[in-house]
């Protein structure tokens, strides 16, 4: 039931244990995003993640609370990194616990789709040809919009 913004790599195993706790719910879904070595055909060597700390915290906490209410979650957690990230490093981790698998899985998808477009982070990719800010993607906006029209 919490959000972490951190410069350090995400310890996925520790996050999972903390989320599930000693008395796990029936259904636990997680999603982890990693830095890719390639982005729209260009090689990527590292990623810089700028963020707006106070707003990011507020947006992600509200997002978790929305997911909790919408999908009847018993527990949830969102961890997002900022700063300099190397290739194949973790970027984001979300986890959701519910009584039923559909809710846990949908909650992860909802949290990811929403934070991509609504949480104030900006990616700058560094490659052999220099660096550039990552543009927003129409596909991300479309995925975000689905959650407004569905149930």
């Amino acid at each position: 039931m919490s959000v972490a913004l951190q410069a350090e790599a995400i310890d996925v195993a520790a996050e999972y244990s903390a989320l599930v706790g000693p008395a796990p719910g029936a259904a636990v879904a997680t999603f982890t995003g990693y830095v890719r070595g390639e982005s729209e055909g260009r090689a990527v060597a590292s990623l810089e993640l700028e963020h707006y700390p106070e707003m990011a915290l507020r947006v992600l906490e509200e997002l978790g609370q929305q997911a909790e209410a919408r999908f009847q979650l018993s527990r949830w957690r969102i961890v997002h990194r900022f700063g300099q990230l190397g290739l194949a490093e973790t970027i984001v981790w979300v986890g959701a616990v519910a009584d039923h698998r559909g809710e846990a899985i949908s909650a992860c998808e909802f949290m990811m789709d929403t934070l991509k477009t609504d949480a104030p982070f900006w990616k700058r990719e560094q490659g052999p040809d220099g660096g550039d800010w990552v543009g927003s993607r129409e596909s991300d906006s479309q995925r975000r919009a689905r959650w407004r029209s569905e149930g």
């Binding site: 707006y52 947006v59 949480a119 104030p120 900006w122 800010w133 927003s136």
Partner: protein, 89 residues
Amino acid sequence: MSVTIKLFSSLREALGVSEIEFDLGELDGAPLEADVAAVKAALSKRGADWQEALNQPNLVHALNHKVVYLEATVSEGDELAFFPPMTGG
């Protein structure tokens, strides 16, 4: 009558500044409140770089850490941020 203006990502880079104070008294009539559009218009007059940065398509404005429309009311002590579309996750 000061409002904190924050700039992120490509806007911060283009303008070479991440935070400034803006005095609502600079606006016509020195109002106690103004909408986001009025603040944006006043900042756009600071130069060609401001004009371009603040009038890019898809500019996002957040008032006190919440995305708002141009009609939202800005008051003293508020924090108003401008940035391009978010690309986290």
